[in-house]
């Protein structure tokens, strides 16, 4: 048999120098909520990255133009579906800004408590998933167990674990259940315990730290010019939190701190989120103390809020009110408004345009992770292929929100 070796002159053998194109996603275990990253690799180094989103685009903004203002609530639930209550509250506040409504105090505390619970769930999911993608499945399952406790509370309050559709224009769908404070009081310490256990496993682990530290670095100025907000921005050292800078609801009456990083790398984003969980716990505890145990949760504006069901069945006035609000929608005054809240990923903005009828003319959602993922290619270009996973995980892209 002939030798398979080729006799080659020195210098004649040329290694292939074409870049390798690698396709990550959209179906990929680490691509949260379907994202496709087309990579050009030179060895293991990413020379070019093209981040392609839109796989979960469902036409949210177009659908809002087909119903009434109140029918948008189930849609906003499905934006950031890991912390839907924050979306509900954000949208409700936007419409109330346009209508000039202020909800009763009990509702404001209630919204804060529920919103912060959702934020904790969001951060638990993000940090847990980051750890899992690096191989640490145990803390992920622990964090999910902690998240289950939050979902149990939300199920007790709203009837659904995830997509509550609980917000209403002028209030909430129903008042707090009598056990709400007790449930939170029991769950929050256990959630914190779980977080600490997870931290113990991760934050002293050499491999974990090496994979996160110094990876995906961005400076504060760059992050700001990219439009970043939320934990990703705060990890770079820019202390911009809407709850402190432009307080809404009762955030100016509670004590909490804003965790801020300094290196702007993946580890800081991870730590900022864990820090925010602790601050959210403080906010919830204070809100539950301050929330009145009785009193109305909804405004009494008959143009916006549905009447009591008992009255609807027995009096003509309530029937008419119910009919008009459901069939034609609450007539929101003509105009445009931009309203913003601090959601799990940053500034969640709603730009609403109303033509004075019960149907929205335009509902624009400003998704915080859209801008953040826009900066992803900058973070991974020049780094190793394996750095993509923790970097992308730390940005907490939620497909529903990014692609709306």
């Amino acid at each position: 048999m002939e030798s398979l070796d080729r006799e080659l002159e020195q210098g004649e053998l040329e290694l292939p120098a074409d870049p390798v194109h690698l396709n990550m996603g959209p179906s990929h275990p680490a691509m949260h909520g379907t994202v496709r990253i087309v990579l050009e690799l030179s060895g293991e180094i990413v020379t070019k990255a093209d981040v392609q989103i839109g796989y979960l685009h469902r036409g949210f903004e177009k659908m809002c133009e087909r119903g009434t203002w109140a029918q948008v609530f189930p849609y906003v639930d499905r934006l950031n579906y890991v912390s839907p209550m924050l979306n509900n509250v954000g949208y409700a506040l936007a419409v109330e800004k346009l209508c000039g409504l202020v909800v009763p105090e009990r509702c404001q505390w209630y919204r804060m408590a529920l919103g912060e619970l959702a934020r904790i769930a969001d951060h638990l999911t993000c940090t847990g998933a980051m750890a899992m993608e690096l191989g640490a499945t145990t803390p992920y399952l622990w964090f999910i167990k902690a998240r289950e406790m939050i979902w149990d509370i939300l199920e007790e309050e709203t009837g659904a674990r995830l997509t509550h559709s609980f917000g209403r224009i002028g209030g909430m769908a129903s008042p707090p259940s009598p056990d709400f404070a007790a449930l939170c009081g029991a769950a929050l310490p256990r959630i914190l315990e779980t977080v600490e256990e997870g931290e113990k496993l991760l934050l002293r682990n050499r491999i974990f730290l090496d994979r996160l530290q110094g990876v995906g670095v961005i400076s504060g100025a760059d992050a700001v010019s990219l439009g970043w907000t939320g934990p990703c921005l705060r990890a770079t050292g820019v202390a911009y939190d809407i709850r402190k800078a432009h307080p809404y609801l009762k955030y100016d009456e509670v004590d909490f701190d804003v965790p801020v990083g300094h290196a702007g790398d993946t580890l800081d984003r991870f730590l900022v989120r864990l820090g925010e969980i602790r601050q959210s716990k403080r906010i919830i505890e204070q809100s539950l103390l301050r929330m009145p145990t009785e009193g109305p949760v909804n405004c009494d504006d008959p143009r916006m809020v549905l009447p009591e069901k008992g009255e609807v069945y027995t009096t003509i006035e309530a029937t008419i009110r119910h009919f008009k609000l459901i069939m034609e929608g609450s007539k929101v005054p003509m105009g445009e408004v931009y309203s913003y809240t601090e959601a799990g990923n940053g500034e969640l903005g709603f730009y609403l345009v109303s033509d004075g009828t019960g149907t929205p003319y335009r509902v624009r959602v400003r998704p915080p992770c859209f801008q953040v993922v826009g900066g992803l290619s900058r973070l991974i270009e020049g780094r190793l292929l394996s750095d993509i996973v923790p970097t992308f995980g730390s940005l907490n892209m939620i497909g529903g929100e990014c692609d709306h």
């Binding site: 392609q52 989103i53 839109g54 685009h57 036409g59 903004e61 177009k62 659908m63 133009e65 087909r66 119903g67 009434t68 029918q71 800004k97 346009l98 100025a221 700001v224 010019s225 990219l226 439009g227 970043w228 907000t229 820019v238 911009y240 800078a245 432009h246 069939m327 034609e328 929608g329 003509m334 105009g335 445009e336 408004v337 931009y338 913003y340 500034e347 903005g349 730009y351 345009v353 033509d355 009828t357 019960g358 149907t359 003319y361 335009r362 624009r364 400003r366 859209f370 801008q371 993922v373 826009g374 900066g375 692609d403």
Partner: protein, 205 residues
């Protein structure tokens, strides 16, 4: 919001700032599309204004066929809305302009990606959803829709019930059984309720 931004804009650009208002506490300025880039440079670089965080860019369609066209005090169909924030000064401003005629001819604006790189993807989204082109954008292609998609979905004239399957629907012949392919919902289906004016008779051809 930012009164000072409105004052400074009016002072600097005069009649090219077509309208300003502060409804619901949001300070808004509507400018001529020609000065779009200059205004944004000014807003970013002026030390009193210092708008360094680009919040959002979107398009809102006001075609004549819509009842909301009575809000049309300005020429142009597609309104492009930019929200800006200054982290240092803690104020916001909304900047608007109108581009395009009824057929969306001439719906072009200068790209702002060299001023705030974060508007890269937002401009792609406005192009994709509303059909406004941005001159000088490094990579203006669709972002949310697939590349073969035709049309711009958030334009009010794009019917919400239209489907554009990339793979044609099966026919009864190829499936070997009756196939009921319905539209997701009819063009006039259910919402929004309320008696509508008669749809404009289509160009019968």
């Amino acid at each position: 919001m930012s009164r000072i931004a409105l004052d400074k804009l009016r002072e600097r650009f005069g009649p090219l700032v077509l309208e300003t208002h502060s409804e619901f506490g949001d300070d808004t300025a509507v400018v001529e599309p020609g000065i779009w880039r200059d205004v944004c440079l000014f807003l970013r670089d002026d030390p009193d204004l210092d708008f360094n965080l680009p919040i959002d860019l979107c398009g809102v369609d006001y075609p004549i066929s819509e009842a909301a066209a009575r809000r049309r005090t300005l020429p142009g169909r597609m309104e492009v809305v930019l929200h800006l924030y200054s982290i240092g000064r803690r104020h916001r401003v909304r900047l608007k302009t109108r581009v395009g005629d009824e057929a969306m001819e001439g719906a072009e604006l200068d790209s702002l990606t060299s001023i705030w790189p974060g508007l890269d993807w937002l401009e792609r989204e406005v192009f994709d959803m509303s059909g406004v082109r941005f001159r000088g954008h490094p990579d203006l292609r669709r972002i949310l829709m697939y590349p073969e998609f035709e049309g711009h979905p958030l334009q009010r004239t794009y019917p919400a019930a239209k489907t554009q399957p990339l793979v044609p629907y099966r026919t009864e012949a190829s499936a070997g059984m009756p196939v009921d392919k319905l539209e997701p919902f009819g063009a006039h289906e259910g919402m929004p309720f309320g008696r509508q004016p008669a749809p404009r008779p289509e160009k019968e051809d």
